[in-house]
Symmetry: C2
């Protein structure tokens, strides 16, 4: 088992990564002072529930915990205020009090939803993350939790740090291949913004990672979480540095907003976005290899590097301008300056970005 | 103008109290670094809007601010997730960004709702309170914000401190007499838990306070806010000491839950609750005058001191057991030990409380 600390002063917490570590959940909960006098609530989705809800609940009960559960439909639609209200209904009926803990068992949607329940139920209770996707190695570190509004994603939320993250790589074996690749896209992003050596390691180990080789997976997740933790430790509330984690997300989010259901997964959209950021980088005078290496890596992982030609440039640009990353109407863009290095550029012209979007539609 | 600081380290903020100070809103906003590049959102209710929305918006615009507004129906029903979503719709349409400020113009309901919008919109933006009721001198200090769930009040919320509180006593002149008395009940509470001298001052100045004498009102609000601020400064997240602010609320909340619409205002319910707490105190061996003085004061303010006889004791007890103040099924009760002094007693028996409820139904 690998262990890593997200260093946030009084809100510091550990991430445990290992094969089969869910079996130790009772011991880990006890170690972290989670008391048995107040009920726990496990929030999960119907896909994850099928494989892992019963085992997790039964391990917790064996350890002496009272446990309720709430299963939501899998998918982004569950990140709504309506579903939040439903989860709170379950919490109230199960008698959750201020000393209770909410457990997110699942991917990013479940983590964001359950995290916001934990942040707001009785103005804040404890929270434990059990990610079951590779993508969630990103969303489960850093405390950003939220639900969507019909007009905007992640617009109603909080910063609420978990007590711990329990990452059992055995849970990843039920993931469809496309979700595996999509999740690895965020892992690669962590290399691209912070660590050229880890980026090279990712490229060299592409086949092992896609094939879910346990050792490669644990190391990759550990390193990805480590970058995320380092960034978050320096800027918990996203005032500044933390924005670099949005590499590829300016275009990526816009593509997700415009794409039809399931046309682009999050990791796929930001892979295209990262290729776009690399193109922008070269246009701004940075070395050509920023683009060639970035593109080569995503190709190696079988991730898309072009915007589907049928997508409308105007629609993409319009979605982008509504993105909450833009403060006071200036366009903030995360631009790689080399492999493993990025800068936050607050003065990128919308016209240049539009050019990049057009070019990405002709990319191979 | 009186000024007071709520001392919370980096989250410290001032409370300004004075007659006509809303006229200085532009200057005060500038002084607190609220920029003009991002739009403001004023949240208010239809009653308050009638008198104060246009003047406030026009003062802000004159000062150079871009201002949107959202008017909710007055009353507790507006503290819902549905209304929260509506306010966020307005915020998005008005282009509020991370540097924007949400302004609560109104009483406790508006403060709680707008405060939770500010706490959760884009994971937290700035917040200014402009209370227009006496009751709100309590709710506007301390950062507790929330909406209701169909099964429980204030169950979904946050701790989110405002940038400042702007208390213009001129806004109180449109209040119905019953709301004035109800609001003064929280002011008296602040004396009872913390300051015997201020309690005596309240009793001596009952007629002036009820008659909204400007000088008495400013001093009373200042002192009430000062007690609240002192308590909150020592226990921002309600881990311990802050619970003393709930004097009278154990029975009070239960009465509100059981009473029909408008039968008991909040301040009326907690006045009865404080008489109940005083009776419990005497039963526990504290001096008789804790009860006689407490009751005499509320009588002097024309506030109720008895539970309406038609209310069902079982229903009251059942509502009480669902109250979120009870952690791990133990009954926590705030018990006065003398005038101006309280203790947090974590082992009060439910049977004793039931006796008190029965006795309060026979009180004059």
């Amino acid at each position: 088992m690998r262990e890593l600390t997200v260093d946030l002063g009084a809100r510091s917490y550990p991430i445990y990564i290992g094969e089969g570590i869910l079996n130790d959940i009772g011991t880990l909960f006890e170690k972290h002072g989670i008391g048995k006098g107040s009920p726990l609530l496990v929030v999960t989705d119907d896909h994850v529930a099928e494989h892992f809800l019963e085992p997790v609940v039964s391990l917790l009960r064996t350890a002496g915990y009272t446990t309720a559960s709430h299963v939501v439909a899998s998918g982004e639609k569950s990140k709504s205020l309506k579903v939040l209200e439903d989860v709170v209904t379950t919490a109230l009926q199960a008698g959750l009090d201020r000393k209770s803990t909410v457990i997110a068992l699942g991917g990013g949607v479940v983590g964001d939803l359950a995290g916001f329940v934990a942040a707001s139920y009785m103005r804040g209770v404890r929270f434990v993350q059990i990610p079951t996707t590779i993508l969630a190695h990103d969303s489960s570190v850093g405390g950003k939790v939220a639900v969507n509004h019909p007009l905007a994603k992640n617009i109603i939320g909080a910063f609420h740090q978990p007590e711990m993250v329990l990452y059992d790589t055995a849970t990843l074996r039920t993931l469809p291949d496309r979700d595996v690749r999509s999740g690895l896209s965020e892992m690669i992003k962590h290399g691209l913004i912070w660590d050229a050596e880890f980026t090279a390691w990712c490229e060299d180990n592409a086949d092992k990672l896609v094939g879910l080789d346990p050792e490669a997976l644990q190391y990759g997740l550990y390193m990805g979480c480590r970058v995320k933790a380092a960034v978050v430790s320096q800027d918990e509330r996203e005032n500044d540095l933390r924005a670099i984690l949005n590499l590829g997300h300016t275009i990526g989010h816009a593509l997700e907003a415009v794409a039809g259901y399931n046309e682009l997964l999050h990791g796929e959209a930001i892979a295209i976005g990262m290729v776009g950021a690399a193109k922008l980088s070269v246009r701004m005078g940075n070395p050509e290899h920023v683009y060639t290496v970035t593109k080569r890596i995503f190709k190696k992982f079988g991730l898309p590097t072009a915007i589907p030609a049928h997508m409308d440039t105007d629609a993409i640009m319009s979605a982008m301008m509504h993105d909450k990353k833009f403060s006071e109407s200036k366009i903030v863009y995360i631009v790689p300056t080399d492999i493993g290095k990025v800068e936050i550029n607050k003065n990128v012209s919308a016209d240049w970005v539009r050019d990049i979007v057009d070019q990405l539609k002709q990319e191979d």
